[in-house]
């Protein structure tokens, strides 16, 4: 039970990633594929953040342990644990995954836009964004219009 | 004194949460888009007001209270406007409210599906 509790996040994240991947693989529509890819990417972010969580921790913005918030946070934790896991008497979650995913999200939307732009151009050249129809057009006609 | 204020604030927050639940139930149960908008938009602003008032009481006279007041002002500005814009778009696009006694709605829908 406690094992399941500790690994629930990873299992769900794998499910979300595979959901995104399935959309990307199975769909014939380029826009839908990009949506699937975006979901996949967000799920990877969730995985990173899961790894960086520290139980009883708080956001990595420096907090004085004698302040009201600091005392409220430490009230639930054993002093032993705070001494082992904390920095200057406050337990923080790991900031490194946050940094990586923060930039990855913004880069993700920029690259999503590139993918969608290519889909729009494909639509203008072929009149469709369905992979099957495009393959059919390539076989029968002389290829793209423009 | 401050404990009483905190208690009142927490109660207001619970009331806000209840209002949100009622609103969500309304959104699920009501028969057509316009009644659902009614349920959602009224309870959104109402629940937000109750909850933020409660949190302001808890946080006391601080910068947190100011931020909460700003959040409240934004919700009061954006949520009704969004609801208005949405119903306007829906009406303009041809979505019409269902009129008449509400028992008929389910039958109508079933007939339409048939």
């Amino acid at each position: 039970m406690s094992f399941l509790l500790g690994h629930f996040n990873y299992l769900i994240v794998v499910f979300l990633m595979m959901g995104g991947l399935w959309i990307t693989f199975s769909s014939r529509n380029y826009i839908k594929r990009m949506i699937g890819l975006a979901l996949f990417q967000t799920s990877v972010g969730l995985f990173y953040i899961s790894l960086g969580k520290v139980a009883g921790g708080t956001a990595a913005i420096v907090l004085d342990k004698t302040s009201k918030a600091g005392e409220a946070l430490n009230a639930h934790l054993s002093p032993d644990y705070v001494a082992r896991a904390g920095v200057d008497g406050v337990v923080y979650s790991n900031p490194l995954p946050h940094v990586l995913i923060l930039t990855a999200i913004v880069v993700g939307v920029a690259t999503l836009a590139v993918g969608l732009a290519i889909a729009v151009r494909v639509r203008e050249a072929y009149g469709t964004v369905e992979a099957g129809e495009i393959a059919e057009l390539d076989r029968t006609e002389a290829g793209p219009r423009a | 004194m401050s404990e009483v204020v905190t208690w009142i604030g927490s109660s207001l927050a619970v009331a806000g949460a209840l209002a949100a639940i009622i609103g969500s139930l309304g959104v699920i149960r009501f028969p057509d888009f316009y009644t659902r908008t009614h349920a959602a938009s009224i309870t959104d602003t109402g629940a937000a007001t109750l909850m933020i008032l409660g949190l302001i009481l808890i946080s006391g006279w601080s910068v947190l209270a100011l931020k909460l007041a700003i959040i409240w002002a934004f919700i009061m500005l954006t949520s009704p406007t969004a609801a208005h814009a949405l119903t306007n778009a829906a009406y303009g696009a041809g979505e019409r409210p269902q009129l008449g006694p509400w028992r008929l709605f389910d039958r109508d829908r079933k007939e339409a599906e048939r």
Binding site: T58, A59, I61, L63, A69, A72, L73 | W7, S10, S11, A13, V14, G16, A17, L18, A20, I21, G23, S24, L25, V27, I28, F33, R36, T37, A40, S41, D44, A47, A48, M51, I52, G54, L55, I58, S59, L64, K67, L68, I70, I71, F74, I75, T78, S79, T81, A82, A83, A85, L86, N88, A89, A90, G92, A93, E95
Partner: protein, 105 residues
């Protein structure tokens, strides 16, 4: 404790609100539900800071309230005009009418 109950209630409301976004039937219902979900998210973020004892992150809730609105407006324009570029105020395309046509009296 009461605050935790409020958070649980809000979570229930979010889950219930999600139902309408999933079952539709029209796209307007979904947008309505998404918009209402966004407002509940704002409240939840504000509340969760108090529940967990570090209410410093209200800034995030402000951003949610604003973004929620802009996304809804974009969706509304999608339905109403089938275009993201049209102006809401002018009765005719901007190019032909010149600068004075859109002005309010």
């Amino acid at each position: 404790m009461l605050l935790a109950a409020a958070a649980a209630g809000l979570m229930t409301a979010m889950a219930l609100g999600l139902v309408r976004a999933l079952i539709g039937p029209t796209s307007y219902d979904r947008i309505l539900s998404a918009n209402s979900f966004g407002t509940k998210t704002v409240m939840f973020i504000a509340l969760i800071g108090f529940v967990f004892g570090r209410p410093d992150f209200l800034d995030i809730a402000i951003a949610y309230a604003l973004i929620n609105f802009v996304a809804t407006i974009a969706l509304m324009k999608f339905f109403r005009y089938r275009s993201l570029q049209a102006s809401l105020s002018r009765l005719a395309p901007a190019k032909d009418t010149g600068a004075d046509a859109g002005g309010a009296p």
